[in-house]
Symmetry: C2
Subunit: 205 residues, 2 copies
């Protein structure tokens, strides 16, 4: 019921409020958030209005109240258990990415279909076969699956994840998948294009 682009902006506001908290700021305004984030103030006010009356006209928003409310709304306070599907180069890079822990996410398992990888250890995790996924998800209350398989395996792996009862999929594979649980697609090429543009502009000076 809340559009996905709104959700992404809420995460951006939350991070900004965390920085402000670190700076010791007590109050802020949609105007200041707009300036810091490059998002229009009217957009920010509209997004926050979904979640009830935060600010006081003339006074603005109390940073800590807004930050806590967003933390609650975005479920950031909770610990989320996740599994990596596809124990290849990307899967291992994701499992070894330390900031995950600090953000409330914990990789509790890695799964693959390649017989040569099953039983091998990566850090504290032992790579398991996809046929053990459902049982593992049920026993460990796993909420998220991070899909790191090749494009041609993506739909099959996504179906297995859905069938196993996982809450949602973070999809890195270079393929659109069709399932009826929430999916977030990740692709770093948009960041590459943005960087390319910054380089061109700089050269133009």
């Amino acid at each position: 019921k809340i559009p996905r682009p709104v959700i992404r902006r809420l995460v951006v506001y939350y991070r900004c409020l965390e920085r402000m908290k670190g700076e010791g700021k007590e109050y802020t305004s949609s105007k200041e958030l707009a300036r810091r984030l490059g998002i229009k103030a009217c957009q920010i006010r509209k997004d926050l209005s979904y979640f009830g009356g935060f600010g006081k006209r003339g006074v603005g928003y109390k940073v800590e109240n807004l930050r806590e409310r967003l933390e609650e709304i975005l479920g950031i306070g909770q610990k989320w258990r996740a599994v990596v599907i596809g124990a290849g180069n990307l899967g291992k890079a994701i499992a070894g990415h330390k900031p995950l822990q600090q953000q409330g996410f914990e990789i509790v398992g890695m799964f693959d279909t390649d017989g040569r990888k099953i039983g091998k250890k990566f850090g504290n995790l032992e790579i398991m076969h996809m046929s053990d996924l459902k049982k593992f998800v049920e026993e460990n209350d796993v909420k998220i699956a991070i899909l790191c398989v090749p494009a041609d395996s993506a739909q099959d792996a996504a179906k297995a994840v859905e069938e196993a009862g996982v809450g949602g999929i973070l999809n890195f594979s270079a393929r659109v998948i069709k399932v009826s649980i929430p999916v977030e697609n990740v692709d770093f090429t948009a960041s590459l294009k943005s960087l390319a543009f910054q380089i061109i502009k700089r050269k133009g000076k």
Copy 2:
């Protein structure tokens, strides 16, 4: 001179126009773009106004004109040569990510400091030592370096990249780097938080 969040939105508009082109649409409006992208129409009009008069009041924007202009502005038409710094799990996943080619980016080299990796092949690429970076960048007109090293090596590797004459850095390492060339930071944990929120909302139904 153009703020980074504006650049990112321009990339989003460009992709939407590409889809519209694929659908055979001839005209669009800031209102329709706003609806499709979840970005306010006033924001879209403001962003496009940086680049000259596109639309006609009452008629809207001609999809192909706007798409071509954005392609030119964003330097998307050109081929960009990139190198991967850090031939570990993430570096190999990036080098093997096929969609890069289709988007106009080509990985032409991989670099590392680990003696056991130097000389090994990954696909068509041979892993080279960081001491060869500057010469390689000059001989191959390399524009972009994709930083895939551990957090503790990030600043040193970034400095070596800047010193070698690369145009900009796509930074995946879990560390803020300080250089005087453009840097785009990538972190997938924001997507994880967005997914966590979608899962919570769904449960609430």
